[in-house]
Amino acid sequence: MSSRRFYTGDEQGLVKVVTITELPVVKVKRVRRNQPAPEAPTKPVPTVETWGAPDRNKAVQLLCWDHEKKHLVVARKNGLVQLMDPKDGAVISEFQHTLGKDNKIDNFFVGLFANAESIITCVNTGELTVQSIQDRTKSTVVNVGKDICRMRVHPKEHHIIATAGKEQELTIWDLNVLCRDPSEDAEPQAETIKGKKRGKNGKAGSIKESSPSTAGLGKKANGTSGPEARYKSKEVLARGQLFKAKNVKNDHLDLRVPVWNTELQFLSHFDFSRIAVGTRFHQIRVYDIKNGARRPAVDAEVGEMPVVAMANGRDAGEVIFSDTVTNVYSVDTLTGQILGQYKGFAGVTTALETFTPFEDDEATHLVSVAMDRCLRVHEMSKTRKLLHKVYLKQRMTAVVVGEYTPVEPTEDDEEGGNSRSKKNAGNDDENDDDLWESMGKLEDKKSKKRKINKE
């Protein structure tokens, strides 16, 4: 039996490890009419392991994996960011951030990411920190604007980050430019301009004037035209920005549409051209950066309540989001239509993630944790069946998918039967031998019978 681990965080500051054991896939044989149906094997009980002591000040706000899932990164309410060993929950190293308060309300983490070298965190005040893991003293703090509701880092290109928030349009930043010292920045900038645009004096000059601000886009939009030409409005991208979205057109009363993005997600692992954004005003918007438009390519109103959490679907054509009245919908990112709803939730789903349950299989599952203190696993097929539900005793805030333990060969010998054939699939020689042996026996029997008949 294979098993999958999930790591969850909750309001009490506990990190729980949920191990769900999947039953071996049994092919249903055709049963004769009068024979009793074969008994369904009993569902194995998920095991829960708890790390840490209850403390509300240490409430887990975000969880993520670092490079190659070596460490679990935990962002806590008191500003502590910890690196944990996913095997026994030992804290390997920790970094203290000061979060502070705004209007008596504690600031909180809105984004967390880690790779082999550094941890990237973002607070709702817009304070983005790049903390080196090896060198504790080495950290860069930049501001990406106030009232940020979500920051995400592109899963493959770690220097691309996206932010969005209250009255903060979706913005894509280039960390390489953003973290560089502005004084250093001026020189290489000038060089690139010299190299590329020598001769076109007028244009190069105009870029120079608005200089460090266009540094990020300089690489991407090279050759075609300057950013001013691309964006017709007078708004110029700030330093380090690759893209800044523009508010949708005024409504039918010609009133400005308020902006309050609550959640965003990169749709593709390979490039950052398509990004889905969920808003407090229950819209799902998809920005297509490649086609040059700053307004969303898809803008659809779905449901009736603010978007809380969002996850990628089976492919780039689907996102899954939850709202504040405990609904979880799957939405088509090309048309903005609701594809279906996942059922079984009693509280708000605070975190969602999709994963492939078996490494060689194409099927995907959806894991979610909710305020009703449960972790749920849904099938992402047409039926959207609830596969597992684990009661975890706390209001959950974060979940990540852990490692997959495949079928253990030692167990299989005892079980025999169905699993035995699985084991044999691994080594072909034995398999063949068995086959020939069994055939040999059959012939013996027949020949015996014949002998008897002859006699």
């Binding site: 209850p54 504040t324 405990t326 009693a346 509280g347 708000v348 305020m371 203190r373 009661y391 005793k393």
Partner: protein
């Protein structure tokens, strides 16, 4: 013997049916008198019968619920520091504000008067149309209120009760039904201003615990026993029944109860984290799809 329903004469059929019915009733009566005599001489037998003969009800055949709390250290630690810790740990006395929906009708005022009578240290405030809930919550926080109760009405009858715990929530919304005011209860007693005792029944699940704690935090810590008044919140099949009585000792063994009123029934519709916010996050929400069985309960 002839089957009664095959007789074609209606009068005859009726006559025979009545005879049969009487005979059955007599047999039952006789059986019971015999049993009663036996049991009066032998009380052990009665005890045995009562312990063995337990009828199946929806409650005792309830579907298994893993969230039922039984001496759990983790849940205890959770409750120690939850939103009600100010009341339970630090002994903060409750101070309640009762108000209505906008433009209330007479029956809502009547019900509000009864609620003011039930909970000590409550203040009724007339709802002004210019104040939204978020304003009222802010004002109440500034004035050190610990709870807000909002009575909602439909067709001039109270139909919902919203309970907001201050300053950090949670907010619970109940459907309100079967209201009987004190004056409608026959033989009701007069209430006194003593702090009542409180009985909470069957709040067993994790959600039930939260709701139970929420109700407990509405009453003062130490009741005034000389008042002999008891408020009861009894949960049965997710309906919370409110009753109020005065107990009167007849002698050392027997106690009489006098109902004080009012009576009403609550049913939880949703529980929200934090103070009331239309767009806030719901910790628990009832949906018709959750009603998969008559034996499934949430509180």
């Amino acid at each position: 013997m002839v089957e009664i329903n095959t007789i074609k004469n209606k009068l005859k059929r009726e006559e025979l049916y009545q005879k049969q019915k009487n005979a059955k009733a007599k047999a039952k009566r006789d059986r019971r008198t015999v049993l009663q005599k036996e049991e009066s001489s032998n009380p052990e037998k009665k005890e045995k019968r009562l312990t063995e003969n337990v009828p199946n009800t929806l409650e005792n055949t309830r579907e298994f619920d893993e969230t039922i709390v039984e001496d759990d250290a983790e849940v205890a630690a959770d409750e120690e520091t939850d939103e009600f810790a100010q009341y339970f740990q630090n002994g903060l006395a409750p101070k309640i504000l009762i108000t209505t929906s906008k433009g209330p009708s007479a029956s809502v005022y009547e019900f509000a008067t009864e609620l003011v009578d039930i909970f000590p240290n409550t203040h009724f405030v007339k709802r002004k149309a210019q104040f939204e809930m978020r304003h009222i919550i802010e004002f109440s926080k500034n004035r050190d209120f610990t709870d807000i109760m909002v009575i909602n009405e439909d067709r001039k009858e109270p139909n919902a009760l919203t309970l907001i715990h201050l300053p950090n929530g949670p907010t619970a919304h109940f459907k309100l039904s079967s209201i009987a005011l004190s004056k409608d209860i026959e033989g009701h007693g007069r209430t006194s201003s003593h702090k009542p005792e409180l009985i909470l029944n069957n709040f067993n699940t994790r959600l039930g615990h939260t709701i139970g704690r929420m109700f407990t935090a509405l009453f003062p810590h130490v009741p005034e026993f000389q008042g002999r008044q008891v408020a009861t919140l009894h949960n049965q099949r997710d309906f919370i029944f409110f009753r109020r009585h005065r107990y009167m000792f007849k002698n050392a063994k027997r106690v009489n109860l006098q109902e004080l009123g009012p009576r009403f029934t609550l049913k939880l519709k949703w529980l929200q984290k934090g103070t009331f916010d239309r767009k806030g996050e719901h910790e628990w929400m009832f949906k018709p799809e959750m009603e998969t069985s008559r034996r499934r309960f949430f509180l």
